[in-house]
């Protein structure tokens, strides 16, 4: 079975905040790094995100949340992916996430959390190193 030459990433905004500048900058940086980025827009439920990830057969789900509900939303996405046969998909999180929340989020299966100040290059490199390409 051949491996595809593109990394496919779903960039998603779970929850109710309306700020997607960060998500768009990341999407654009991943595009410029040669990845195919599916951007689904604002205010998505974990169920919608997981369904899109599976239908689009992505390698990575990158979540951006600025509402403060990350402790619920991020682990929920991981859990639903695992339940529905998407356990091999790399899940990343970004946004204003307090330092003390990060260990529990990683424990839940979010592979890495990127907080303000992260360079887009660091995100690109992390994805290249950790995505399991299909």
């Amino acid at each position: 079975m051949s491996q595809r030459s593109f990394i496919r990433v779903l960039v998603a905004k779970p929850g109710l905040d309306g700020h997607d500048r960060g998500a768009k900058i990341v999407a654009r940086a991943l595009r410029d790094a040669g990845m195919e980025v599916i951007y689904t827009g604002l205010r998505q439920t974990p169920e919608q995100i997981v369904e899109a990830a599976l239908q689009e057969d992505v390698d990575v789900v990158a979540l951006s949340c600025l509402s403060g509900a990350h402790n619920y939303l991020f682990p929920k996405v991981v859990e639903l992916l695992r339940q529905q046969g998407g356990a091999d998909i790399l899940v990343l999180g970004g946004g204003v996430i307090p330092e003390e929340d990060i260990p529990a989020l990683k424990q839940s299966g979010v592979k890495e959390i990127f907080t303000p100040g992260t360079t887009t290059q660091a995100i690109v490199e992390f994805i290249r190193a950790h995505a399991i390409q299909k």
Partner: protein, 312 residues
């Protein structure tokens, strides 16, 4: 191998995850993976294929979503293939058509897939024909294909679908634009979207006038895709077109043309891979003749082609 068999079983049992995986395998361009299609072959029922094309920002995605919604409401199973441009420099892409799909995402019987154009210039992606075949075999009643934003000449979509909807918006040009060859000629239904904008009626009338000069009467409709105004008329128009094609044999003709073209392209791609390898082998040790100018590439190419054919 077991993995492959499991995948085939899941696909045949209607598992969308298996469908998503096989779409990726076919899209990866591995010619061998197309053999998987043989395992999914299904006789009888065929899907209805609708293509939507037009300039960037004309409202193709929004209209595609509304069309899909109407078909889902009638109990049909619908697949949406949404194509956005890939970067010619990095190969990367932003596939953003799903943003317009919020109202229908999550409905049962619906599959949505975004594809990068990956270097194809005809408005689609090279992988579209085999992916359409996969979706047909999966059992969808309707497949809606949205091209990348097109200009005047990207007409591949007509080789891929049963009915083509060309979408435009008011204010893009005068009546001479409407007479030009290319994308306007491939419309089975013409839609002027954003009909709440100034000039929509005039644009529609200009299109009507221009199309009347042609061989067939293509309906010109006006819609406001965001609110759904005009969408029921579009559905009726597409239904009528489909029934006419079914009755007068045009549908069968289009399908035959489509399948023949895909078959030719696939057969040619298999031969060209082998031919290229063989030519490279033959050239070993002889390149100096070409480099020095003693032999020109056209004589050499003709001789090699003849020898390759004799070897069959």
């Amino acid at each position: 191998m077991l993995y492959k068999n499991e995948l085939i079983q899941s696909f045949l049992s209607g598992d969308m995850r298996a469908l998503a995986r096989t779409v990726s395998m076919v899209e990866a361009g591995d010619l061998q993976s197309l053999q998987l299609l043989a395992a999914f072959a299904r006789e009888g029922k065929r899907a209805r294929l609708i293509g939507i094309t037009g300039p960037p920002g004309a409202g193709k995605s929004t209209l595609a979503a509304k069309l899909a919604e109407s078909l889902l409401d009638r109990g049909e199973r619908v697949a949406l293939l949404l194509i956005d441009p890939s970067s010619p420099f990095t190969g990367g892409a932003i596939l953003g058509d799903r943003i317009r799909m919020h109202a229908i995402a999550g409905r049962s019987g619906l599959y949505i897939r975004s594809l990068g154009s990956r270097g194809s210039l005809g408005g689609l992606s090279r992988a579209v024909p085999p992916i359409v075949q996969l979706l047909e075999n999966f059992g969808f009643d309707a497949i809606i294909l949205e091209t990348v934003g097109t200009g005047q000449a990207e007409t591949d979509v007509i080789e891929t679908v049963d009915s083509v909807v060309v979408v435009t918006v008011p204010g893009l040009g005068d009546d001479v634009q409407a007479m030009k060859a290319g994308i306007i000629e491939i419309a089975d239904v013409f839609v002027v979207n954003k009909a709440d904008r100034e000039g929509a009626e005039r644009t529609a009338r200009q299109m009507e006038e221009a199309l009347k000069l042609g061989p067939s009467d293509v309906p010109v409709l006006t819609t406001i895709a965001t609110t759904g105004v005009g969408v029921p008329a579009l559905i009726s128009s597409l239904d009528a077109h489909y029934q006419t094609m079914l009755a007068d044999g045009e549908l069968a003709k289009r399908r035959e043309r489509r399948l023949r073209k895909a078959l030719h392209a696939y057969a040619a791609s298999l031969v060209s891979v082998r031919l290229a390898e063989w030519v490279e082998e033959q050239l070993t040790g002889h390149w100096a003749d070409i480099e020095s100018g003693r032999v020109d590439i056209y004589s050499c190419g003709r001789r090699l082609a003849e020898e390759f054919q004799k070897g069959r």
